[in-house]
Symmetry: C2
Subunit: 715 residues, 2 copies
C-alpha cells in the first residue's frame, strides 16, 4: 500500500493545534494505519451487537476495554476483560464492563467499548526511529526485554531503509539467531518484521518533525509482526540546513587546493621560529614547483623571494592562500583573498572556536561564504600534497609519495601521522589537518580522494562529523573504489566527554556511529596505531578474490597464534582439499602438520618456504597467504625475506595477485627483513602475530563492503 | 545441613550396578536431597487421600502425574494435570488421571500418582558442573534461555567454590543486572542461588566419578532458587594422577637449574653450525662464571676446554646437563646423567612427541623419574638465566638484566621474545623454553619465579596446561607478590585445532581458561605483542595505590583517544575536585579544558608540562598519570622527556611512587624520547594512545587481583 501522507499530516496538525508534542494512542494508531504499520485490529462498539460483530470480524481472541474520558484507570474500574472467543463471552463481557463502569463512576460519559485483537504470544522486539544529532533520522531494531535493556543488543541504520537493508538489520543484532527459532520455537515472519522497519523509517523520513517513534513491543510470530504499542514524539525545531556544494563544485575547489599552481603565504616571515617562516621554508625545501608568493606588509623579500604587501598586489591567479597570521587579523586578510578571487584559504592559526572564540570563527566563515572561498581549518598544522611536493605546514617536509591519504581533526594526531609515516616509510598521497572544520570537512576530502588517482586508500581521524549524511554519501561513493579507514575518537562515554570539552562538538552515541559507518562500508580502526598500520598496509596488499586464507608457518607456535588472529578478524581458514594437502605434504617433513595452518616445521631450508609459498600462490583455490617465519640458522631472516619477495614477484609477473602477510619471530634481524618484505609488497611485522592478520582482515572487510567478495554466511 | 555422602554413594552404586552412566530423575532427586540442593517438593500418592494430604503439605499449586512403567508419554495419556490449588481439585484430578490411564492402556501397572510442587514463575538460570580436561571439576553458572544458548552468557569456576566465590559468579555474567531486577521485576534470592552453586560444586568435588551435573533450569525468585530438573552423568574413568612434587622439592631443583655452579653440555662440539657448538659458545661468550663441562666421546677439548667422554667422567657435582645430541641418543645419555646424580636435564633436541615419537619421549620421562632427574623440554631452544650470565641455548646471548621472567611453549615465540627484548632493551631475569613439557612445566617455573628476588613479573606463552589446578595454585601463590601475564594461544576454535595438531595436547574451551585464569589473578594478554609489551612495562611501573587516574595532555586529540583507552581498560578517570581543578588551571591557558583530561593545550612551554605533572604527582588524591605529549618547537620531544623524567625522579626521591605512562605524538624524534622515558621509569610509546594505557590497565588488573586496591563496583 502507498502511505496516506494526508492522514498523517492531519494528525500532526491536530497535535500541534493542541500544543502537544506527544501523540495519544489513537493518534498513534491513525498514523500507523496511514503507513501500513500493523497494529492490533480494533474498533469502537456503541452497543453490544456492534461489539459482537466487531469481534467476529477481527477473529481469534479479543479484549474489551471501556472508552471514557472520565475513566483513566480502566483496569481498576473493571473496564477491561481479556481472552474472549465466543459471541456469548463478548456479550457477557460488554454488559459486565458497563455495569462495573457505572458502579465505579456513576457520572462517567461512556463513549463506547473498544474491541481489540489479542496478540498471540511471540518474540518481543523493538522497532523505533530517533533523530540523531549527527546522522538525522535513524531507524533502530532490537530484541525486546532483557536483550535490549541489559545486553543493549540493538542496531541502527540511516532512514529510510530499503527492504533489503531492513532484512539485514534483523541479522545485525547479537541474538539474531532467536528470530530464526531457537529452543524449539518457530522462526518469525522476517518479511513482516522488515516491513515494519521499512515503513517506520519512511514515516520519519517523510515527516522530519517526527522526532521519535517507538513500536515497543512488536510481537513477532511465524504469521506476522504487530506493534502492540506505538509512541510518537514531535519536535518542530529543525536544524538549519547546512550549505551544501555539488560534487562538481567540491572536486573543482579541492583540485585547486591539492594541485595548486600557486600558493600565497599570508604572514610569510624571515624570522626563525615564526609559523610564517616555517611554512615558507617547508614550501621551498619541500620542492614545490609552482609559484610561492609570500605576503607581508613589512617585508620586501622573504627567503629571497619577492614579498607582496597584500595578496591583492600578487599578479596572476592564485589557487591557495595559506594563513600564518594571528586569529584577530584573519578576517581582514580573508576579504582581500576573496577580492583576489582565490578559491581556497588554509587557516593555520588557532584562537577560534577551540578557545571559545566562536564569534570570530563565525565572522570568518561568513566572509568565506560571501566571497565563495573554501576554508581549511582554522586551528590546523596545514596540509601535505605529496605528489605535488607541496608541504604547506609548519611541521617538516614529507616526501615519500604513495597511495594513502591521511586526515586528522587534531593537530597532535597529525604529528603522530607524520612521525609514523616517516619512520615506516609509508607512501603517502596527502596529509591534511581539519581542525575546527569551519567549512571543509571529511566529506569534501573523501569526495576528492575518492577521485584522486594517486590515492588508493583514505584514512581519517575524526572526533565528530558535522554532517553525517554527507559523509555517508561520500563514503558510499568512495568505498567501491578504495578503502576508507576511520578512527572515530570519543568512542566511549568518557571519551565523548573529552571530545565535548575539546571541540564543543556534540559527539553522537558510539553505537549509532559504529552501525552507520559500517553500513557505509567504512573500516573502523579500533585505535590510533591500528589506523596508522592499516593506512600503511592496505595500499600494499592486493585485493583478495575469495575467502580462502591459508597459513604457512615454520613455527607451530606462531601457527596457533595466527589462527587465533584469523578467527578474531573474521577470516576463513581454508579447508584444504586432499589433493592440495598432498601437494603441500610433498614439500614438508613427514611430521609436519597437515591441514591449515600448514606447519612446515622449524629448521627447514629456504627451499621449503619457497616451494610451499609458490604452491600457495599458484593454486587458484587459495586466495590469501599468512606466513609465520621462525628465525633459524638454516633460513636466516633476510634469506627468508628475499626468497618470499622473489616468489611473490614471480607470481605477480604471471598475473597472480594475492595478498600475502607475514609474522616474523626471531632476533632483531627480523626487523630489517620485515621492512624489506613491506617494500616488496608483503605486509610483514616482527614480534607480532596480530598485526599482519589485522591488516589482512581490514583488507577483507573492505573487499566485502566494496562488493568484491561474496558476503560470508557466519561473520 | 551437612551433605549425606552415604546416600549419594548408595545411589551411585545402584547406577553402576545397573551398568548405567545416566541417573534417572528420582535418582537425581535423591542426590539433590542428600546435598541440600533445592528441588520441587514431591511425593508419591497411592490413593486419593494421600494425594490430598501431600498437596496440603506441599502447599501452593501442585501438579499430579501418573507413575507407571508402562506409560512413557504421560501427557499423551492424559496423565498430567497442572495448576491444582484446592483439595477438591486434587481429588478430581486424581480420579481423572486414573480413568484416562485406564482408557489409554488398560493393562498398565499404575504405581501411584506423583504430587509435585508447581514452581512459581521466576528467572530461569542454569547451574552445572563439568569435568574439564585441564582443570578437572568446574562449576558453571548462566542465565537460562536465550542468554545462555544464543549469547553464551556463562561463567566457570574451579570446584568447589566458597559462598563468596559463588556470589561473585552471579556478577560475572554479562546480564548480571537481570538477577538484581530489571523492567520492574523483583531481585532474586542471590544467597539461595549461590548456595545451589556451592552445593553442586561440593557434590562433584566429593564424588569425582560424577562427570556432569546439570540443574536446568533453576527457577530463581525473590524467595529462593529451586532446580526444576537435575541431570547427572557418571564417568568412572579417572585420569591417572600426575606425579606431584612438593613446593620445597620444586624450589630446590629449580634453584639448581636457574643458579647452577656447573653445567655439562652433552654433545658439545667444535663444529660450527652444530647445536652443541652454539650452546658451548653461548655459555662461554655469555660470561657464565660457573664450570662449563663439555661432554663428547670423540673430542679431547671443545673450545679450548677439556672434554669428557661421558658425563660420568666429570669430576665433582654437576647441577645441569644440557643435551645437544640427537633424540635417539638421549635415553642412554640420560641414564648416565642419572647415575652421576645430576638433578636437571635440559633437552634441546626435537624428534619426540611433536614428531609423533611419543614412545621415545615416554621412555626418557620414565628414566628421569627413575633417577629423580627433572627434565626441561624436549624440543626447546634452551634457557637464559640472565643474572647468572647463563645462556644455555642455541640462540645468541642476552645480557640485559632486569625484572621479567619469560617462558614460552613454542620455540618460535621464544625467538620473538628474544628479538623484542633485545630491540627494546627489556630487562630480563630469565627466558625459558618449555617445548613438549615432558616434566617441568609452567607451574614449576611459576613457583620458582614467584620466590626469585630478581623476578618482578612473570610472562608466559602457553598452548595448554598439563595440570590446570597446579598452575592455579602456583599463580595464587605468586600473584600477591608479582604480576603473572599469560598469553594463552589456541583461544579460538580455529586456534585450538591448530594447537591440537601442533602438540597433541587437548586444548580446553577458552571460556573455561579465561574465567579460571582470571579467578587465579592472572593477567591475560590478548596477543603476542601485548604479552611482550606488558612484560617490558609492568616491572617499570610502580603499583598504584588507588583508582584515580588523571590524563594531562598537550594535544586535545590525544586526550580524547587516551580517554577512550582508559574506558577500554576499565580505568577510572578521576572526577577532579574544585580545589584541584583550580590548582591545575593556575598553570594552563584560560581556554585549556578543565576536568579530566586536563588539556594544557598545544604550544605550551616545558614549564607547563613540568608544573602540571608535578601537581599530579604530589596531590595524594591522584593515583596514576597518563601523559599526552604533542611535539612542538616550544617543547621538543627530548626536552619533554627530560623534564618529565626529572619531575618523576624528584617525586620518587620524596617517596612518591605513582605509575606514569605517556603517549608521544610527533615526528620521529619522539622515538628516542619514548626510549629515554622508559629508561627513567615512565612507560612511554610513540604513535599510539592505546599501548601506554593498556600497560597501565594491566598493572591495575594485577593490583586488584593481588588485593592491593579496592574492587571497583562497575568493572
Amino acid at each position: 500500500m502507498e502511505p496516506d501522507r494526508a492522514a498523517v499530516a492531519a494528525v500532526l496538525d491536530q497535535v500541534r493545534a493542541g500544543g502537544r508534542t506527544a501523540l495519544t494512542a489513537p493518534e498513534g494508531k491513525r498514523i500507523a494505519d496511514a503507513y501500513g504499520i500493523a497494529t492490533p485490529a480494533e474498533g469502537l462498539a456503541a452497543d453490544v451487537d456492534e461489539a459482537v460483530a466487531l469481534a467476529d470480524r477481527i477473529g481469534g481472541e479479543v479484549v474489551l476495554k471501556v472508552v471514557s474520558p472520565d475513566i483513566l484507570h480502566k483496569s481498576e474500574a473493571g473496564g477491561v476483560v481479556t481472552g474472549l472467543r465466543t459471541a456469548a463471552q463478548v456479550r457477557a463481557a460488554f454488559h459486565r464492563i458497563c455495569e462495573n463502569a457505572r458502579a465505579y463512576a456513576p457520572q462517567a460519559r461512556i463513549e463506547g467499548i473498544q474491541v481489540q485483537q489479542m496478540l498471540p504470544p511471540g518474540q518481543e522486539v523493538i522497532v523505533g526511529a530517533v533523530t540523531d544529532p549527527t546522522f538525522g533520522k535513524v531507524v533502530a531494531f532490537g530484541l525486546g526485554g532483557v536483550l535490549v535493556e541489559v545486553i543493549r543488543d540493538v542496531t541502527f541504520r540511516l532512514a529510510p531503509v530499503t527492504a533489503d537493508e531492513a532484512l539485514a538489520m534483523l541479522d545485525s543484532v547479537k541474538a539474531a539467531e532467536v528470530l530464526r527459532g531457537v529452543r524449539g520455537a518457530p522462526p518469525v515472519d522476517r518479511w513482516a518484521l522488515a516491513e515494519q522497519l521499512r515503513r517506520v523509517s519512511r514515516l520519519v523520513s517523510d515527516f522530519p518533525e517526527i522526532a521519535e517513534v517507538d513500536l515497543n513491543p512488536v510481537i513477532a510470530t511465524p504469521e506476522g509482526a504487530v506493534a502492540a504499542d506505538i509512541r510518537v514524539i514531535l519536535d518542530d525545531h529543525q536544524p538549519p540546513p547546512r550549505p551544501r556544494f555539488t560534487r562538481e563544485e567540491i572536486l573543482a575547489s579541492m583540485d585547486r587546493l591539492m594541485k595548486p599552481r600557486s600558493v600565497a603565504v599570508i604572514g610569510a616571515s624571515n624570522e626563525d621560529g615564526k609559523i610564517g617562516n616555517s611554512v615558507m621554508k617547508n614550501l621551498v625545501n619541500g620542492g614545490f614547483a609552482g609559484d610561492i608568493l609570500p605576503v607581508n606588509p613589512k617585508a620586501d623579500d622573504i627567503l629571497g623571494r619577492k614579498a607582496y604587501r597584500s595578496v591583492l598586489d600578487v599578479p596572476g591567479e592564485v589557487d591557495v592562500a595559506v594563513f600564518a597570521i594571528p586569529a584577530r587579523l584573519v578576517a581582514r586578510a580573508l576579504r582581500e583573498v576573496g577580492r583576489k578571487g582565490i578559491p581556497n584559504a588554509v587557516l593555520i592559526p588557532s584562537g577560534f572556536a577551540e578557545t571559545g572564540e566562536q564569534a570570530l570563527q563565525d565572522e570568518v566563515t561568513a566572509i568565506a561564504r560571501e566571497y565563495g572561498i573554501r576554508l581549511l581549518g582554522p586551528n590546523i598544522y596545514g596540509y601535505y600534497s605529496t605528489w605535488q611536493d607541496l608541504c604547506a605546514t609548519f611541521c617538516t617536509p614529507y616526501d615519500v609519495k604513495g597511495g594513502v591519504a591521511l586526515t586528522s581533526q587534531s593537530g597532535g594526531i597529525g604529528m603522530a601521522i607524520l612521525g609514523f609515516a616517516r619512520t615506516t616509510g609509508t607512501g603517502v598521497s596527502a596529509i591534511v589537518g581539519l581542525g575546527n572544520k569551519s567549512d571543509l570537512d571529511e566529506d569534501d576530502l573523501l569526495t576528492y580522494f575518492g577521485e584522486d588517482p594517486h590515492t588508493e586508500c583514505v584514512a581519517m581521524h575524526l572526533e565528530d562529523l558535522k554532517d553525517g549524511r554527507a559523509f555517508v554519501a561520500a563514503a558510499r561513493a568512495t568505498v567501491p573504489k578504495k578503502p576508507v579507514v576511520v578512527l572515530k575518537a570519543g568512542r566511549t562515554s568518557a571519551g565523548a566527554r573529552a571530545a565535548g570539552s575539546h571541540t564543543g562538538a556534540l559527539a553522537g552515541d558510539d553505537k549509532v556511529y559504529d552501525d552507520i559507518l559500517r553500513q557505509a562500508g567504512v573500516i573502523r580502526a579500533p585505535g590510533l596505531r591500528d589506523m596508522l598500520e592499516y593506512a600503511r598496509a592496505l595500499p600494499v596488499l592486493p585485493t583478495p578474490k575469495g575467502d580462502n586464507v591459508v597459513i604457512i608457518t615454520g613455527a607451530g607456535g606462531s601457527g596457533v597464534l595466527l589462527s587465533d588472529a584469523c578467527a578474531d578478524n573474521g577470516l576463513d581458514l581454508m579447508e584444504i582439499p586432499p589433493d592440495l594437502d598432498a601437494a603441500f605434504r610433498a614439500f614438508i617433513p613427514p611430521f609436519g602438520a597437515a591441514g591449515n595452518p600448514i606447519d612446515i616445521t622449524g629448521g627447514e631450508p629456504p627451499a621449503t618456504y619457497e616451494a610451499t609459498i609458490r604452491l600457495g600462490l599458484e593454486d587458484p583455490r587459495i586466495h590469501a597467504l599468512v606466513l609465520g617465519y621462525w628465525h633459524t640458522i638454516v633460513t636466516p631472516p633476510m634469506v627468508f625475506a628475499e626468497v618470499t619477495a622473489r616468489v611473490v614477484a614471480q607470481a605477480r609477473a604471471k598475473g597472480i595477485e594475492k595478498p600475502v602477510v607475514a609474522s616474523l619471530a626471531g632476533d632483531t634481524e627480523v626487523e630489517a627483513a620485515a621492512a624489506y618484505l613491506f617494500d616488496h609488497g608483503v605486509v610483514a611485522y616482527p614480534y607480532t602475530t596480530e598485526a599482519p592478520v589485522a591488516a589482512l582482515g581490514a583488507k577483507y572487510r573492505w573487499a566485502r563492503a566494496a562488493g568484491l567478495l561474496p558476503t560470508p554466511s557466519a561473520h
